[in-house]
Symmetry: C2
Subunit: 412 residues, 2 copies
């Protein structure tokens, strides 16, 4: 083992999740345990904050096992986040020079970056720049995204908790919409611009609620209004209350987002064009076609930050992968992203953490495969359920005070 | 005590909540314990279902303590619900004759109806009709509504759980929106057409998050766009991320709902007029005025059915009030609604169940009092926090299977 001694810095980037702080806690745990790493710095607002010299000393902030436990169950990014895209290091080095000067000043030898696709691009570029200038800094990416659309990994940290919240409220809404005996359609719009993983997860209720949600539309299958109306007509033959789950990113055959439909001319009192969203669009369409009661629900922000309903498997794995990133960096790896490899299924579900070359992963999207979607394109298959189910397994009871979960606040 | 022996029937009516089944379980517990009551029937879809002879025998369905426990933590109305309004019994007796013939046939002596304002109107009318025809049937109303707007009671069963879910996700969204350092406004639209109780509850996060949500607008205070812009400008002086909680029912000085604003001319591709809602309306207004990032979130259905995050105080009291209704009916009362009387505050919070004459309660609305809202009309007072806090107290861990809460299904 290459005994590179020095300090470490960890940053968070991209959209928040319920598990990105669990991974932060995992990196902190790994770094505190390491005899190679001295001080553990936190980048405030990711690389964007680092470029403005904003960072903190985590050894002074996270002081106990209790702090780590609270941090693991705190939603969003405790260090703050950014959506910065670094320039090509072969063309424009100003930002890199600034960052590496800071690393030099703080004696940073280990850089950990927790984020989604864009953040892995940052990891890729930083490690390339390190090679160019012959720096020995080890740069490791740790994935997170509720979207589950990163390549190279069985699934992404953060997805399981979002999926569990979505399936939980979906089941509750199925109960709610079933109380009346009038014809009604409830349309639930779920996050996922490119990949339909989260919408697929809403169908995990079928182990409890029979077929409901009755219809499930992912961006991976072309959305067709006529087929959609036929699907609803068919569903009405069986029961009066139909629940539809739909990805925000479903598109018609011409490649247009369904949610774009309302942009065509309509404006509000301020003269703004409407972009009502996929759920609202379909609500209007079904009202027009069937004249029945229709409601659309956009699950919105709570999907990505509902730590109060987190998946125990997700949080446990998120800590594990942060810690594993430290081990890999200690053993000399750089320019890698940590990944999950599934080594057991069903009741024997198990994963192990592996590292993969980041250049083969960054800037690609992992879609829901065709065999996870039924032939008609209006629901998921049992194979998909089997893949998803272990990821929402287990419950976490957060610490509560004054009736609300207790969060660990670093920057806020 | 008047020993009236016979059977009982219980029904649910109005919008679902996370606690209406806890009250059903309370009535069932009370009836099973009673030595006056024989069979316990359940009305399927409330009085509307009864008018079509739809009912079930609960003794055959709810068979164990485990069943009762599951029922207590199942959202929505397990018996189904309706939104029926009975005619004036002095003018049109057809529906009453049909109902009382069924009661006669089933030897019903006790009628329990769990519901909100409209349902208490049904209880009032049924008990009046019973008096008119000299029936000895005892008719009791048990309140439920997430809106907390029934008169005669300190608060309503179901409110505490909705309030707890709203405050929980509000706190999570406050963390989520705080991760970036760009100017941004997040507007959260909360249920409450007439009364702002639920929106007020979103501010319970202030015990954890300082002042956030930064601004809180209830229907009880007139909404003024210019003051609203000033409020946001003021809030931006302190921090870049502003979170606004707003009741769906806020109105401008001319008495118009803010959410109506977008009806003025704009139509979608189907020619429908828009009613974008209060949050969407304010999102557009703030975008126009400040040109910053703005997002609106409508919490929608999960507010009223999120049993996975129920308040222990709420569920416990909801069971208690159902049981108390049986006791009151056994002791000869009729035409009453069960109410909560607060007999201790703060750490000594306690309530007792009392019955009140239904005629004095039905068809009235209990608003958030002026002293619970600050002078500027853009937040709640500490007095309001003190009133609300005990109601979201305590957590319930539902039974889970396959990663999701287990519900008890009667009709569905």
């Amino acid at each position: 083992m290459d005994k590179l001694k020095g300090n470490a810095i960890v940053g968070q980037s991209g959209g928040p999740t319920a598990a990105i702080n669990a991974t932060l806690a995992g990196v902190i745990r790994g770094a505190f345990e390491s005899d190679h790493i001295g001080t553990v710095y936190g980048a405030i607002h990711g690389v964007a904050g680092l470029l403005e010299d904003r960072y903190c000393v985590l050894n002074d902030i996270v002081k106990s096992e209790e702090d780590l436990k609270l941090l693991e169950n705190t939603p969003a990014a405790a260090l703050g986040s950014c959506r910065a895209k670094l320039p090509d290091p072969a063309k424009d080095t100003a930002a890199y020079e600034k960052l590496f000067a800071l690393f030099e000043k703080l004696d940073i030898k280990y850089f950990f970056y927790i984020g989604g696709n864009d953040s892995m691009d940052t990891v890729d570029k930083l490690s390339k720049y390190a090679s160019i200038i012959g720096s020995d800094i080890r740069v490791m990416g740790v994935p997170k995204t509720i979207d589950n659309d990163l390549c190279g990994t069985d699934h992404t940290p953060g997805f399981g908790s979002a999926a569990k919240f979505i399936a939980t409220v979906m089941q509750e809404m199925i109960r709610d919409t079933a109380v009346y005996f009038v014809k009604a359609v409830t349309i639930v719009e779920i996050m996922g611009r490119d990949a339909g993983w989260l919408t697929a997860a809403s169908a995990l209720t079928r182990k409890h609620c029979g077929v409901a949600p009755d219809l499930v539309y992912l961006p991976e299958a072309v959305f067709d209004y006529d087929k959609f109306y036929e699907d609803i007509e068919e569903a009405f033959k069986k029961k009066p209350n139909i629940v539809v789950a739909v990805s925000e990113g479903v598109k018609t055959a011409d490649g247009r987002y369904v949610g774009e439909g309302t942009q065509s001319g309509a404006t509000d009192v301020f003269g703004h064009k409407y972009l009502a969203g996929t759920g609202k669009m379909l609500e209007n369409a079904v009202k027009e076609k069937f004249g029945c009661k229709v409601r659309s629900v956009e699950l919105n922000l709570p999907q990505r930050c509902a730590s109060h309903a987190a998946s125990l498997v997700d949080l446990t794995e998120s800590v594990m992968v942060g810690r594993a990133a430290v081990k890999c960096a200690e053993s000399g790896e750089s320019g890698k992203m940590m990944c999950f490899e599934r080594i057991g299924d069903g009741d024997n579900y198990a994963i192990r953490c592996v590292s993969r070359d980041i250049a083969s992963i960054a800037n690609k999207i992992r879609y829901v495969p065709r065999e996870f979607i039924n032939e008609r394109g209006n629901n998921i298959t049992d194979e998909c359920v089997d893949y998803l189910l272990p990821l929402i397994s287990g419950e976490v009871m957060p610490a509560y005070k004054n009736g609300l979960p207790v969060h660990f606040v670093i920057n806020g």
